[in-house]
Amino acid sequence: MSKTLQLDKVSLNIKKDRILEDITIKMETGKVYGLIGRNGAGKTSILSLIASFRKPSSGTLAIDGVDLYENADLMDKVDFLYEVDYSDEYDSPRKMFEMTKRYKEGFDMDYALELMEGFGADADKPLHKMSKGQQAATNASIGLASNSPITIFDEVTNGMDAPSREYFYKQVLAAREKMTRIFILSTHIVSEMDYLFDEVIMIHQGRVKLQEPLDVLLERGFRVSGPEEKVAQFTDGMDLLSTERLGPIRSDMVLGRLSEEQLKEIDRLYLDISTVKLQDLFIRLTEEKEEERG
């Protein structure tokens, strides 16, 4: 059983462009990792390295300390699912499952067919005749049923309707319970998926901005709401991520942790306090960097 996936000081250059720089990430089996970042941040490049689609320009990438690239014993332990154009694919999902089973012995054929049924997609229909959502469901089914120790879903829900996405999220949690494996979910729809994540890896401009457990990350900030003047008074001098107003009510999102005194102050001022959402934190944290750059 593969226990850890480690990227150590990994960099990637494509022609003269530096795509990734000094990426150090550690992932452990049994966890779901959310890989988030803005467009062009380097998420898919990191996933391509993990799937051995590319060779790192420098640094190491290993499963349980053994180098992964071109290692015949390890490469089939990684499953990389991403949006594929199936407009020229005449095979059916069932045929694809059979082919996957030939190369990946852990692939659970019955479960894959059960998943297709759950998605409401016909496993015997040629892929080119399927809708985008059904094609995405095929990819999702392959990934979930592969039982690979490392399973990567890169924007795999693109094209799925809301019920299908919801079904997929439930199945990710069920698959994690069924067997200890590493799931890496890369997505733009952070607000829908955040509850799946055990840890969040935020990528920004080709670097790892942070890797933290979700609960720890969400404690990095808080939202305080109440009458305009009182909120302004409380957040004066704090690291404000955003301010929203609705009539006389003001809501400030603040980066930082609350001290005991500040909690007492909030009680005294009758202000409301709540946690920030991952999506808000992600937007603000990556915006902040852009402002610095500008």
């Binding site: 494509i14 060779k55 071109e70 015949a72 030939r102």
Partner: protein, 230 residues
């Protein structure tokens, strides 16, 4: 041979043979139509096999060109290393070359029973010469497949490597075409001919050296090739 290498070789070969089962009947149909409607003695004497030997090379060149674009992403995604992909693909190329040569020979044998079609290879007089002639074509067909595979790997890496591989292929293919005296009675190079065993050995040796050269360049090109996500 490892399990994965065996599986990949089987799957690539199966797919190539499936395509070949379209190519061979279509080409046979073209041959039949030409022979029925055209009254050219040179054409009418030529057997299907004789005509197919040359066409098979172009067909295998096309298969080679499709190799990387059709199978690389699929293979790496299933956990195959580039090394396995390379060895499985070259083996599939050899097996497909043998298959289409045997299949076209079989079709030609059947057509030979009908009065409208030729039965021989006009360029050679028969016996050992025919064996050498067909063997030369087999090597050349394999060379075309590897050449196509090389072009495919080149363009997959980028435009400049692709064009470089096209030029390299032109040189190697022209070179091997010159040394093999395929036109009736003529000899490509004075020192090389079907008439002497030394000449034949030299021709085979030069072709094998060309094959080895392409094989080595291909291995280098495939070794760290990046799989592109569409």
């Amino acid at each position: 041979m490892s399990r994965k290498l065996r599986l990949a070789t089987m799957d690539y070969t199966k797919e190539f043979i499936r395509w070949s089962l379209w190519y061979i009947p279509i080409f046979a149909l073209v041959y039949i139509v030409l022979n029925v409607f055209l009254r050219e003695p040179e054409l009418n004497e030529m057997s299907f096999f004789s005509m197919a030997l040359s066409a098979n090379r172009i067909y295998m060149l096309v298969l080679g060109i499709l190799a990387v674009y059709t199978f690389l992403e699929w293979s790496v995604n299933l956990g195959l290393t580039r090394k396995i992909f390379f060895h499985a693909m070259t083996t599939a190329g050899i097996l497909t070359t043998l298959f289409i040569t045997a299949a076209t020979a079989a079709v030609s044998f059947l057509l030979g029973f009908m009065p409208w079609f030729g039965t021989g290879i006009p360029e050679v007089s028969g016996g050992v010469e025919t064996l050498v002639y067909v063997g030369g074509y087999l090597l050349s067909t394999l060379l075309y497949f590897l050449g196509g595979f090389l072009i495919s790997a080149g363009f997959y890496r980028g435009f400049v490597p692709g064009m470089t591989m096209v030029l390299l292929n032109i040189v190697i293919m022209m070179g091997t075409d010159i040394i093999w005296p395929r036109e009736s009675g003529t000899i490509g190079l004075e020192a090389l001919s079907f008439d002497t065993s030394t000449g034949v050995a030299m021709m085979v040796l030069i072709t094998i050296v060309c094959l080895a050269l392409i094989y080595a360049i291909l291995r280098y090109m495939i070794r760290d090739i990046a799989v592109k996500i569409k």
